[in-house]
Symmetry: C2
Subunit: 300 residues, 2 copies
């Protein structure tokens, strides 16, 4: 099951017990970390996220509230005896920042760390379980959103029909992947007679920090769930534009135009001590909006 | 009044709600930050430390648990509209690390940030209130302790005696600084007849991360309070040596040999979930030992 757990929902300065950006996307026991603001590893302890299950980290951009917790996490993994490979994806200078900090501390990691520079719209991970892509957003510095698409599962055999038609065992996998079967007599048995479809794989998109940006729509179209920043309420749309951020209503417009099913909102400015208005404003434009609350897991 | 508030008392990996190293030394409304592990700014909010009063930051060494919170703090100061100068003291590569992270984020700070490279045993700050020095410790990488000496306050006039002897007003300051007064008739009036001594200025020393190291003693001799790391209990003295850390009893030996009045212990390894034994073991050697507990302010 694809899901996302929010570790930090605040913008740059921690306030009101809200933390800088971080979230964990989970699928079948794999944890994919998206952004890693300061204090992320402590939030992971608070919310019982299994650090050992994190295999990939995606950093949207190099503003500190999105990555200042990363080197500490990399370090702790080593001190905790992490064994598996860790793949870090982010803008190019991140590699130098990590390497410099490991070098001055004379740190030798006890596990393989692979750094991948991201750029443009690209596929970052593609295996039989998940496809993860990045896409550019409009921010003050180079910045990327990430989409997570659960792969369509194999179809299920209708055992009765399969046996009745004497389908050979070796052809079962082909059936699961949608092929028709041709009998020795040349008769074509349609796949849909022999199998039932698995449910469509779900899609989640993290839209990072961004100005109102319709260019993003093609990358999140029809997603089951998106997370969009709403640093400001609607009354500060001018400030949002100047600072390359979005308001509640702008985020909701994007959700609406992209035809997504549901939207989480976060990255709240520290000027706001309460959040109710974020939700109500966004819902005026896109009803299926929820606040991204720290410690809460949202099923996609 | 010289005092120290503990913000983090754990070693490298945060655990059991203990945080990486950071503490604030306070004197007459000035806050001096010593080390700044990840999450320090959040600890400051938790414990109501006035961030705006921080004028100086001292970083002992470049292991992440002692400085990964610094760039975030520098950043937040700017976002919060900090105005006063901030002086950061630390090993040379720290400047590059800070500058690189500000550069990639395209951050222009709204206050003057001055970086000072430390080395050897040296005086870092010396004004009419405080003298702050650094001294080398024995750690796996270049590492420094810091001593804070409250300046002796001016002596207090015995007003009755001053008036009786017709000391002119303009000489009062000289009396406060210990001078004798010579009358027009050539008679010397001893300072101690005219003033009483202010209490001696107090001294606090932060001994950073270190192996058992008698070379440190001359720098902390007779201090009113020291903080010494005790990463391990006595049974792991071999591991302490290998990893350039100290045990309870080693720290207590240093306190004893340096003739200090009181010792706080901290930098506890994450292997220990309770701390009572740290205190009891250290007290076997040096009785006036206390655990450095997070959120607690210790008067020097």
């Amino acid at each position: 099951m694809l899901a996302v757990t929010i570790l930090g929902n605040n913008s740059a300065v921690p306030a009101f017990d809200r933390h800088p950006t971080s979230q964990v996307v989970t699928l079948d026991g794999n944890n994919y970390l998206v952004d890693c603001g300061e204090g992320t590893q402590i939030q992971m302890i608070n919310y019982k996220i299994r650090r050992s299950k994190i295999s990939h980290v995606f950093i949207s951009h190099l503003h500190g509230d999105h990555y200042f917790g990363l080197v500490g996490l990399i370090n702790s993994f080593s001190l905790l005896g992490h064994q598996q490979e860790l793949h870090v994806f982010g803008p190019a200078p991140l590699r130098d920042i990590i390497e410099m900090q490991l070098r001055v501390a004379d740190t030798k990691l006890c596990y393989p760390l692979h750094f991948h520079t991201i750029g443009g719209a690209a596929t970052l991970v593609n295996n039989d379980k998940i496809e993860i892509k990045c896409f550019p957003t409009q921010h003050r510095v180079e910045c990327y959103g990430f989409s997570f698409r659960e792969k369509r599962k194999p179809r299920k055999l209708i055992l009765e029909a399969v046996k009745e038609n004497n389908i050979p065992l070796h052809f079962y996998e082909n059936l699961k992947h949608g092929e028709d079967f041709t009998t020795s007599g040349g008769e074509v048995l349609k796949n849909e007679w022999l199998t039932t479809g698995a449910p469509r794989g779900k899609t989640y998109a993290f839209c990072a920090d961004t100005r109102y940006n319709e260019g993003m729509i093609e990358h999140i179209q029809d997603a089951d769930l998106i997370y969009h920043e709403t640093t400001y309420l609607d009354h500060l749309s001018e400030r949002a534009y100047e600072r390359f951020h979005s308001t509640t209503k702008q985020a909701a417009q994007i959700a609406l135009k992209a035809g997504v099913k549901k939207m989480l909102i976060g990255h709240f400015s520290s000027k706001y001590d309460t959040l109710e208005e974020f939700e109500s404003e966004a819902r005026e434009v896109f009803l299926n909006t929820e606040l991204a609350l720290e410690g809460v897991t949202y099923k996609v």
